[in-house]
C-alpha cells in the first residue's frame, strides 16, 4: 500500500502493532552483529525448529541489539497477559529448554536478566503498557529492566527502537511513532520552522566535532546551487565505537526519516548514505529499509503526496578511515580517492560535486524525528548548558559490563564506569578511559568525576568523538596505547600532508624505541614537538588531532614513559621486549600444562604422574617468544611476569 494521508499512516501503524504485539507468544532474538558473533543465528533456527516440532503456538521474530552486547545472544519472550522477559547468553540447548518451560508458564531463573512491564515510546511521550494478569513461575525476584544497573541511568532517544522492532518491518517502526514526525514536518511546518526547532534544541553533531546541527542546516539552506545534497556519514571508523552500526542494524528507518526531514528543511532532493565496508549487515538493513520506504511512498517522488521528492543512494566505503572526514567522504562518492581538501569554503556551500551539501552522522539524523515530535524545549532540558540531549557510548575494554549505552550529557565518567559499567573486572585498578578514538585521548583517574560533554572532554585533552569509551586498567600500558594509535594513524593517513604522513610515522618510531627499551628522555620532548607540528600543519582533522593520544598520555602518564625509558620497565607488563616470564618453583605443581601449550618448546621439566613425583618446570628465556600462552594456561598462578 502507498501512504498518502495521516489515516494511511495510522493504518500502517495498526499493521505494525499486530506484529509487534501479536495475540500469541512472541520470541524475539537479537540478531545484530554482536548477537550473530555469539551464535544468535543458531539460536533463532533452533527455536524455530523446536516450535514447529512441538507444535507450540509461538511466533519467532528477529530484532536488533538491546545494548547489553556482552550478554548476547539475548532472547526475549512476550506473551499477552504477562511481563516481557529477557534472557541472556542463550545457547541453542538453553533455547530449547526455555521455550518448553515457557509453554508450561515457567521461567528459567539462571539465564534471566530482567523483566519489563511497559515500553517507553519516547518519541510520542507515552508508555506502552503490557496488560498483566498472569506471572510465570519463578519470575519473582527478577529485576525490572530499569532496576538493572546497566540500564538504570540510561535514557534512550537514539536507541529508542533498537531491540524492540524488526528492522526490516517498516510497519513496526511506524507503530512506535515512526514517520509521524515526517508527516508533521511536511504538512504542518515550514522549512524555516524546522531549522529553528533544531537550532533551539541545541543538538550538536554526534560525529565528534559537535558543530551545532541547526546552524549547519541553515547555512546549507541559504547557499545557492542548482542542486543540493543531503549526506549521512555512516563511515564510523573510530576503533572501539559502534553506535552507528547498532542504530543502522536495529533501527534504519529512524535515520532515513531524519534525513528526509533535513532534506525538506534544506531543499535537497538527492542524498547519500556513506556506510563503512566493514558493516555488511548495516548495509543490508539499510538497503531493505530504503526499498520499503520507497514502496510505501515515504521516499522517492512526491513523498506522502506533499510534492516533495528525495532520492537516497547507498554508498559503500572502501575501508579507509580518512573517508570519515567530510571532504574526503565527498571525494570518495565522486569516484576519487578519499583525500580531504582545505575547507576555506564550507561544504554547506560547496561540497559534493561543488554543490551545497549537508553532512550529518547517523546518530544526529536519528535524533531529528524525536526533536520534531517532542519539541526543542523538551530536548534542550536534557544535558548540560552547551551540550544538549543524550549521547550513545560504547563502553568496552577492561570493564565488567560492556555494551552500548545512551546517557544524558553531563553524566560523570565515574557513573559510566562504575554504576553502568559495573567497575573493573578481576579486582584490578582503574587507570584511564580512552575517548574519541584516534583523535581523542586518555582521561586519568584523577578526572573520573568529569561531567561528560563536548567541551569538558576537549578541555581534558581528549574529545567526544563518535562515542567510543575504552576502559583501561592497571594492566594496560599507556605508552603501548599511544603506540597503537600511531600505528593506526600512520596506516590511515592519506599521505597528502607531509606533516601528518611523516609525523605519525616518526612518532610511531619513537614510541617503538621506548617500548623496546631504547628510549631516551629527550624523546618525550621530541614527541611533544612532533605532535605540535603534526596538529598545526595538517589540512584535515585526522592530522589535526592525530597527536592527541600521544600528548594526552604524556600529560597524564609521564611517569610511565619515564619508567620505560630510565628503568627499562613496563609497569603494566605489556611491552614485550621489557618482560621476562619465570616459573615460581615453589608454586609450580609440575602439571606440565605450560610445556604442552608452549609453541616454541621453551619450557622443560619433569611432569608429575601417579607413579612419580615431578620436578618444577623452567622457561628457557633464550627460546621464549613471550606469547603468554603458558601464563594463560597455568591454573596455579605459578608463572610470573617481570
Amino acid at each position: 500500500m502507498k501512504i498518502g494521508t495521516k489515516a494511511d499512516l495510522e493504518k500502517m501503524r495498526e499493521m505494525g502493532l499486530k506484529t509487534l504485539y501479536p495475540g500469541e507468544v512472541k520470541i524475539s532474538v537479537g540478531m545484530a552483529t554482536c548477537g550473530l558473533s555469539t551464535g544468535a543465528d543458531k539460536v533463532y533456527e533452533t527455536i524455530q525448529k523446536e516450535v514447529e516440532k512441538a507444535k507450540l503456538r509461538m511466533r519467532v521474530a528477529q530484532t536488533g541489539c538491546i545494548g547489553f552486547c556482552q550478554r548476547e545472544p539475548v532472547v526475549d519472550i512476550l506473551e499477552p497477559g504477562k511481563p516481557r522477559v529477557f534472557y541472556q547468553e542463550v545457547t541453542p540447548e538453553r533455547a530449547v529448554e526455555l521455550v518448553h518451560r515457557w509453554a508450561e508458564n515457567e521461567v528459567v531463573g539462571d539465564w534471566l536478566f530482567c523483566k519489563m512491564e511497559k515500553e517507553d515510546w519516547i518519541g510520542e511521550d507515552r508508555f506502552w503498557n503490557y496488560t498483566i494478569h498472569r506471572i510465570p513461575k519463578g519470575l519473582d525476584g527478577t529485576p525490572h529492566y530499569h532496576q538493572v544497573p546497566f540500564y538504570n541511568k540510561q535514557l534512550k532517544i537514539a536507541l529508542r527502537n533498537c531491540g524492540f522492532i524488526n528492522p526490516d518491518h517498516i510497519e513496526e517502526y511506524i507503530a512506535r511513532g515512526g514517520y509521524f514526525s515526517l508527516y508533521n514536518a511536511l504538512f504542518e511546518m515550514k522549512s524555516e520552522e524546522i531549522i529553528e526547532e533544531v537550532k533551539r534544541s541545541g543538538l550538536r553533531g554526534r560525529g565528534g566535532a559537535g558543530f551545532p546541527t541547526g546552524n549547519k542546516w541553515e547555512s546549507c539552506r541559504k547557499s545557492k546551487g542548482e542542486r543540493k545534497f543531503i549526506l549521512c556519514n555512516a563511515d564510523e571508523g573510530d576503533p572501539g565505537a559502534y553506535m552507528d552500526r547498532s542504530v543502522l542494524e536495529g533501527d534504519p528507518h529512524s535515520v532515513i526519516e531524519g534525513m528526509i526531514i533535513g532534506a525538506y528543511a534544506i531543499g535537497a532532493h538527492e542524498g547519500f548514505i556513506y556506510v563503512r565496508n566493514e558493516y555488511p549487515l548495516a548495509i543490508q538493513k539499510l538497503r531493505i529499509a530504503i526499498q520499503r520506504a520507497e514502496e510505501v511512498g515515504l521516499l522517492g517522488e512526491d513523498i506522502l503526496g506533499s510534492g516533495f521528492s528525495l532520492k537516497i543512494n547507498l554508498f559503500r566505503g572502501g575501508g579507509a578511515f580518512v573517508c570519515g572526514e567530510s571532504t574526503a567522504l565527498m571525494a570518495s562518492i565522486e569516484g576519487k580517492v578519499g583525500e580531504p581538501r582545505a575547507k576555506h569554503i564550507h561544504t554547506t556551500e560547496s561540497g559534493l560535486w561543488d554543490l551545497p551539501s549537508n553532512l550529518n552522522n547517523v546518530e544526529t539524523w536519528n535524533n531529528i524525528p524525536v526533536i520534531i515530535s517532542r519539541g526543542a524545549d523538551w530536548y534542550s532540558r536534557i544535558g548540560t548548558e552547551k551540550s544538549k540531549g543524550t549521547k550513545v557510548f560504547s563502553i568496552v575494554g577492561k570493564v565488567n559490563n560492556t555494551g552500548l549505552i545512551e546517557v544524558p550529557m553531563g553524566i560523570t565518567l565515574r557513573e559510566i564506569v562504575y554504576d553502568i559499567g559495573g567497575g573493573i573486572p578481576d579486582g584490578k585498578k582503574f587507570k584511564a578511559v580512552q575517548t574519541g578514538g584516534p583523535s581523542g585521548g586518555c582521561i586519568p583517574e584523577s578526572l573520573i568525576d568529569l561531567p561528560v560533554d563536548f567541551d569538558r572532554l576537549t578541555e581534558a585533552g581528549s574529545m567526544m568523538g563518535s562515542g567510543g569509551m575504552i576502559v583501561m586498567d592497571e594492566s594496560t600500558c599507556m605508552v603501548d596505547v599511544a603506540k597503537y594509535f600511531m600505528d593506526f594513524l600512520k596506516g590511515e593517513s592519506c599521505g597528502k600532508c607531509t606533516s601528518c604522513r611523516e609525523g605519525t610515522k616518526r612518532m610511531h618510531e619513537i614510541l617503538t624505541e621506548i617500548t623496546e627499551g631504547r628510549g631516551k628522555l629527550e624523546h618525550i620532548d621530541l614527541l611533544e614537538e612532533l605532535g605540535w607540528v603534526t596538529a598545526e600543519a595538517s589540512l584535515c582533522q585526522l592530522g589535526g588531532t592525530a597527536p592527541n593520544p600521544v600528548l594526552s598520555t604524556i600529560r597524564y602518564f609521564k611517569e610511565e614513559y619515564r619508567e620505560h625509558i630510565i628503568n627499562k620497565r613496563c609497569p603494566a607488563k605489556v611491552c614485550r621486549a621489557l618482560l621476562q616470564y619465570r616459573i615460581l618453583s615453589n608454586v609450580c605443581t609440575s602439571c606440565g600444562k605450560c610445556a604442552k601449550v608452549c609453541p616454541v618448546k621453551a619450557i622443560t621439566g619433569k611432569r608429575k604422574t601417579k607413579k612419580e613425583t615431578g620436578e618444577p618446570f623452567n622457561i628457557d628465556t633464550e627460546k621464549c617468544i613471550k606469547c603468554g600462552m603458558c601464563f594463560e594456561a597455568c591454573k596455579f598462578e605459578a608463572i610470573e611476569v617481570q
Binding site: 554482536c34 565505537a241 554508498f315 580517492v337 600462552m629
Partner: protein
C-alpha cells in the same frame, strides 16, 4: 575473469565513472582480488586512465591486488580488541598458519589479514572468517576455529 561479467557489473552502475569504487568492489567479489587484466579492461572500457584506477585500488584497504586464499581471516585490532589481547590472537594465527599477516598459505587455503574494528567491541577479541564473526576469542580457541574451515 570473463569480460562479459565485468561488462554486466559496469552496466549495473550505468557505466558511471563516479561508481568506480563500487565497480571494483563487485569485480573483486568474483576472484577475491583484482586481477591486472580486469583493471586494464575496466580502464579501457570506462575511459579512466589505468593510473587512476591503480591509485584507487591501492588507496582503499578493501581492495586487493594480491590473490587471496579460499578462506579469508580478518583479525580485529580495534582499540577494544587491542587492549583485550587481539594482537596475541593475530600472532597465534601467524604461527599456526606459518604466514605473516597479509599473506596466503601455500595451499591457498587461508589468507590472513587485519581489520581496524568491525564494531563488535563488547565481545573482543574478535575475528571474522569469510564474513562470519567469532567473538570472545582466546589463544587456545584458535586451533578449533581453524578446524571449522576445511
Amino acid at each position: 575473469m570473463e569480460v562479459s561479467k565485468i561488462d554486466s557489473i559496469i552496466e549495473q552502475y550505468g557505466g558511471k565513472k563516479s561508481a568506480i569504487l563500487a565497480i571494483l568492489q563487485d569485480i573483486q567479489t568474483v576472484d577475491k582480488y583484482l586481477p591486472k587484466e580486469a583493471l586494464e579492461y575496466v580502464s579501457q572500457k570506462m575511459q579512466i586512465p589505468l593510473t587512476d584506477i591503480f591509485r584507487i585500488a591501492t588507496f582503499y584497504n578493501a581492495l586487493s591486488l594480491k590473490p587471496r586464499g579460499r578462506h579469508k581471516i580478518d583479525v580485529c585490532l580495534g582499540t577494544a580488541c587491542h587492549v583485550r589481547g587481539g594482537g596475541k590472537i593475530l600472532e597465534k594465527l601467524e604461527r599456526d598458519l606459518g604466514i605473516p599477516v597479509g599473506e596466503t598459505t601455500k595451499d591457498k587455503k587461508f589468507t590472513l589479514e587485519l581489520v581496524r574494528c568491525i564494531g563488535c567491541c563488547s565481545l573482543g577479541p574478535v575475528a571474522v572468517v569469510d564474513g562470519k564473526v567469532f567473538g570472545r576469542l582466546a589463544q587456545d580457541k584458535v586451533s578449533t576455529l581453524l578446524k571449522e574451515f576445511k
